[in-house]
Every structure is written in C-alpha cells, then in structure tokens.
C-alpha cells in the first residue's frame, strides 16, 4: 500500500514568504499570550511571579522582525507591538530568519531550537523559564494536537473542556484584542 504523502516543507520554495510569515506569527504569539494571560489560570500564575513592569521581546537577528510584551499593573501580559520603550529584561533572539521560520512552522520545537544553538536567551534565567512555560502552554491550547505535538516535548493532558474552552476563549479574546487594538 502506498504511504500517504506527507507535506515536506523543505521541498517548497518558501524564501519569499518567510519574512511575512514570521512577522504574522510573532503578532499572533504576542496577541495569543496577551489573551491567554487574561483567561488561563496556569499562565496567570506564571505571570503573577514576574516583577511589575517586566518587559520581554522575541526577535530575529540582526534587526527584526520583533515582538515586545510587558506585564501590566493588572498583572496581565500586554502586547506592545514591534517597538520597545526601553531595553527589555529578557530577550529571545533567533540567529536568522530561517531559524525563526523553522520554529514557527513547527518543524523544530522551541526547546530543540535552544538545543540546536539557533535561539539565544539573554536575561534572567528564572524569568525566561516562566516565559517558555507560558509559550508552551499557549501553544498546547490553541494549536491542533498534531501540530502542538511536534512543537512541544510533551503534549499536556488537557481535559477536553480545558482544551475547547481554554482554546476558544483565547481565540475569542484574541479576536477581540485584534479588533479593538
């Protein structure tokens, strides 16, 4: 029997779409984290332990795309867009656009990108670990299981209501945030 054909991204010429795709994904991640920090209990607990006014960025070297977020006075994460008003406390830097594309197209997990020396971490390690957990949690909730499994070391056992409700609440919040901002 013939094996079902699997989409192999490396065979496609994705050069021209990499930059706009990464720009879009950074925005989705920023808005997604913003929404998730409003509705998901686990993410809220992580954000609670970040210092007030904490700022972090995710960027592609040498000069973008970039996404900046800040902890608000209400204890939530707020997406600030592409500009940072000051040097962020924690910076996650991809060495090249292609490496960011590998991660955001779920060909390489975040932890694997760190292990492969493609993703640099600058700033307090403890805070960075909290952020990594927030990112993982958000991905597990909003991505379809078969995609999230590729991106994460372990797909968490989310109860069905958690996945459906959590996911859809993030989505609806994401939609509102996108429209209202």
């Amino acid at each position: 029997m013939k094996k079902p054909q699997r989409l192999n991204l490396s065979e496609l010429n994705l050069g021209p779409v990499k930059r706009p795709y990464v720009v879009l994904m950074l925005e989705i991640i920023g808005r997604g984290l913003e929404a998730a920090s409003q509705v998901d209990e686990k993410i809220r607990r992580e954000v609670e332990r970040l210092p007030p006014g904490f700022m972090f960025e995710m960027r592609v070297l040498p000069n973008g795309p970039r996404m900046v977020m800040e902890k608000t006075e209400q204890g939530q994460l707020q997406y600030l867009g592409r500009q940072a008003p000051r040097t962020p406390d924690v910076s996650l830097k991809f060495k090249h656009l292609t490496h960011a594309f590998l991660v955001f197209s779920f060909q390489e997990g975040t932890a694997q990108a760190f292990a492969n020396d493609r993703l640099l971490l600058d700033g307090d390690i403890g805070y960075s670990m909290k952020l990594v957990r927030c990112l993982n949690r958000m991905e597990s909730m909003i991505l379809p299981k078969f995609v999230a499994q590729r991106a994460l070391k372990r797909y968490p056992t989310l109860s069905l209501p958690e996945k459906l409700l959590g996911g859809s609440r993030i989505y609806s919040r994401l939609a509102k945030n996108l429209v209202w901002n």
Binding site: Q112, F114, A115, D117, L120, D122, I125, G126, M129, L152
Partner: protein, 394 residues
C-alpha cells in the same frame, strides 16, 4: 538518532600529565606574557599546592608577580574588583587560577575587568557582552569535577543587589588548562568522590540530553569510562598518580562535553538543592543522577543503554541483551553510589543528608523548574513530575 544541527567549540589548550606545571612559563611566553598573577584560596595554600606552581617558576627568568590567596567559597563582585585593583597596581600581564569552581569563576571575572580596563563587573553581565579577547589566562584545577577550566561561563554574586550575575562569552575560556597529577593528589576521599560524581553527571547528561552531538558524545563516553575504572582504585590508593591524572582528564573531557551539549534535570534539581540547603554540588549530583535517569528512560532508553559500555566494561556490556542495557546502566550507577556511601558516607537520599526538610520539597521542585538546564532535559518536567522525583529521592 542523528542531530539535525549542532555546534562544537573548545579552543582551550590542554597541558596534561607528569611535570605539566613546568610547562607554564613556556606557555606564557608564547602568549607574550611574563608577569603572571596567581589567584587561589586559603585551602589550596594550606595544602601546599602553591609550592608546586611556584617551584615551576624557580628556574628561568619569569617570576610570579603577585599571589592573591583569599578567594572565599562563595565569591563576589567585591572580591573580583579588589583583585583587579591589585593586578593593576602590581603591573601584571596574565592570570593563573589555582583552585576549584569559585577560584576559577572569580578569575574569569578579574580577567574581564583587567582586560576591559573597567571597575564595575556588573556592567559585563549577560550573553556576548565581551567583544574582544582577554588577557592570557591559565587554569590549574585542584579538584577533578567542575570542568570550569573549559567552560565559557562564570557566575559571581553581586552582594549589593543580592543576585547571582551570569557571564557568558567565548572570551572567558582560558588559553590553557594545566592538569598535573600533583594538584589533586592530596584531595580527601569524600571530595574526590563528590567531584568525580559531578564530572560523571556532566558526561551522562551531555550524552542523554537534547543538545547531544557526535563530538561531545565522544568526550562524554570517554570521560565516563575513565571515572568508572579509576574512581574506586584512587579511593583505595589516594597517592595513585596515574589514577588521579585519569580523573582530572575525565573531568576536563566531561567539561568539554557539557559546555557544548549542556546538562539537564539532575543539574536543575541539584542547583536548587545546593542553593536552598547549602549542600555541595557534587553531592547533589550523586543523589539525583539515578532517579533522573529513570525518569528520562522512556525517551532515552537507547542512549542510556549505550552508556553501559563505559560504565561497566566490554564484558558486561556484551553479556547484557540490548533491551536490558539501559536498566543495567542505571543499576551500575546505583551500585557506584552505594559503594561511595559505604566508603565515604556520601548520602544516597535526601533524608540521609540530614540537611533537608520534607516540607522543603515543593519549594525545591518550584526552584528546579526555573533553572535553565531543565530546558535541555529530553523529557518535559512539570511541578508534579519534579515533586515525584524528589519524593523518590527522599
């Protein structure tokens, strides 16, 4: 499993073996240095180890310009800044660190200040802040464990802010690591055992965690073999020069492996335990290693199984069916741990340390999750998992 991409870097010259210390003057001269400063601690001085180093300078025209021998076990930016001042006053042009982890990290800090001609160490904290090579810098380890002589990081306490400042740069790597059996010959049995288990853990984690790669694998396997076959013989015969040198080399090789492949959950848990309960790092490693390997077994059965060869030798490896090798490797490590307990009372469990409270376990689990090395552990770890491992290690 092949790795899709990896990097490997180690520019440290290894000067190892009989009469290695006597190579230092020549090695300094190749770097155009002639006025070295030695940085060490009181313990090294009291053990008479400095005499070997000074003896190496006795013939010839180079002299040690200054010796700072008061690095505390928990060094700080203040100490670093004091030493840098002394270095400048005395017109030194190179550094020789003689000691363990704290002395080596302190010296890395001093090298930053004297090379950048600066006075505040905190200004250079972070990743890749340094942009140019530093002064000639040699390391003579006096324990066989940390591997700091081949790592590109240093951690120094900032007493003002009360935080640990990390420094990461290729320029922090020493120019040479000098491994001379005389320098570890008088190490007491329990320290020999603890530090060897730290090196063992570096190699095992480098080999089993997410950043493993073929080149660091070679160093890791070789280090594990050397520790397995030399640790007990050295404890039997502490003045065994050849065995001491094997352990020193193993420690450096394990250091090269993990500075390229990183470490995992044993270190995450160990860093937390060390910080909260003030237990020596090597002891923490010895305690958690078997439990973490059991935890990682489902993801890493094959890699752990391969370690049976350097751990137990060719004969046992060949006799053990492939499917049982990983379990056999873990029980070999347990066996070594029990033997070290019998000989030097090295604790096997958290309870045996006598310094840990059962109520502290949740706090330890929480701290471990915030440790950077957890990122490279092959199996994801959440709070419940970390707590379960701590309970098993109780």
């Amino acid at each position: 499993m092949t790795k899709s991409y990896y990097e490997f870097f180690c520019p440290v010259k290894i000067v190892a073996g009989h009469a290695a210390l006597e190579h230092i003057p020549y090695e300094l001269s190749t770097l155009a240095a002639s006025r070295p400063m030695i940085i060490t601690d009181k313990g090294v001085r009291a053990a008479g180890l400095l005499e070997h180093v000074q003896g190496a300078f006795a013939e010839g025209d180079m002299e040690v310009v200054e010796i700072f021998d008061d690095v505390p076990p928990d060094s700080s930016t203040t100490v670093v800044e004091t030493i840098a001042e002394l270095y400048r006053e005395r017109g030194c042009d190179s550094l020789i660190a003689v000691g363990g982890g704290s002395v080596i990290d302190t010296s890395k800090g001093v090298n930053i200040l004297v090379s950048e001609n600066a006075s505040r160490l905190a200004d250079f904290s972070g990743v890749g802040v340094l942009k140019k090579p530093l002064k000639p810098f040699f390391v003579i380890p006096t324990t066989a464990g940390t591997g700091s002589e081949v790592t590109l990081v240093a951690v120094v306490n900032d007493p003002v802010k009360g935080v640990k400042l990390p420094f990461t740069s290729y320029f922090l790597l020493p120019n040479a690591a000098i491994l001379d059996p005389r320098m570890t010959l008088t190490l007491p049995a329990h320290i020999t055992a603890m530090t060897a288990m730290d090196a063992m853990t570096h190699a095992v984690e480098a080999f089993t965690c997410m950043a493993k790669n073929p080149i660091s694998d070679a160093y890791a396997v070789s280090a594990i073999g050397k520790i397995s076959s030399n640790l007990i013989p050295v404890l039997n015969k502490p003045d065994d020069e050849a065995g001491r040198l094997e352990l020193a080399q193993a420690s450096t090789m394990a250091g090269i492996a993990f500075s390229n492949s990183m470490v995992g959950l044993v270190h995450s848990l160990g860093h937390s335990l060390g910080a909260l309960c003030h237990l020596p790092h090597g002891l923490c490693m010895n305690l958690f290693l078997p439990y973490v390997l059991e935890y990682n077994l489902p993801q890493r059965r094959e890699a752990i199984g391969e370690l049976l060869l350097p751990l137990a030798g060719a004969e046992i490896y060949a006799r053990t069916p492939a499917a049982q090798r990983a379990d056999a490797a873990i029980s070999t490590i347990r066996g070594l741990r029990d033997e070290l307990h019998r000989r030097c009372q090295l604790p096997r469990t958290l309870a045996e340390t006598g310094k840990v409270n059962r109520e502290q376990l949740p706090k330890l689990a929480e701290m471990a999750l915030d440790d950077g090395s957890i990122l490279f552990n092959p199996v994801e770890v959440d709070l419940d998992d970390a707590l379960a491992i701590l309970e098993r290690a109780w």
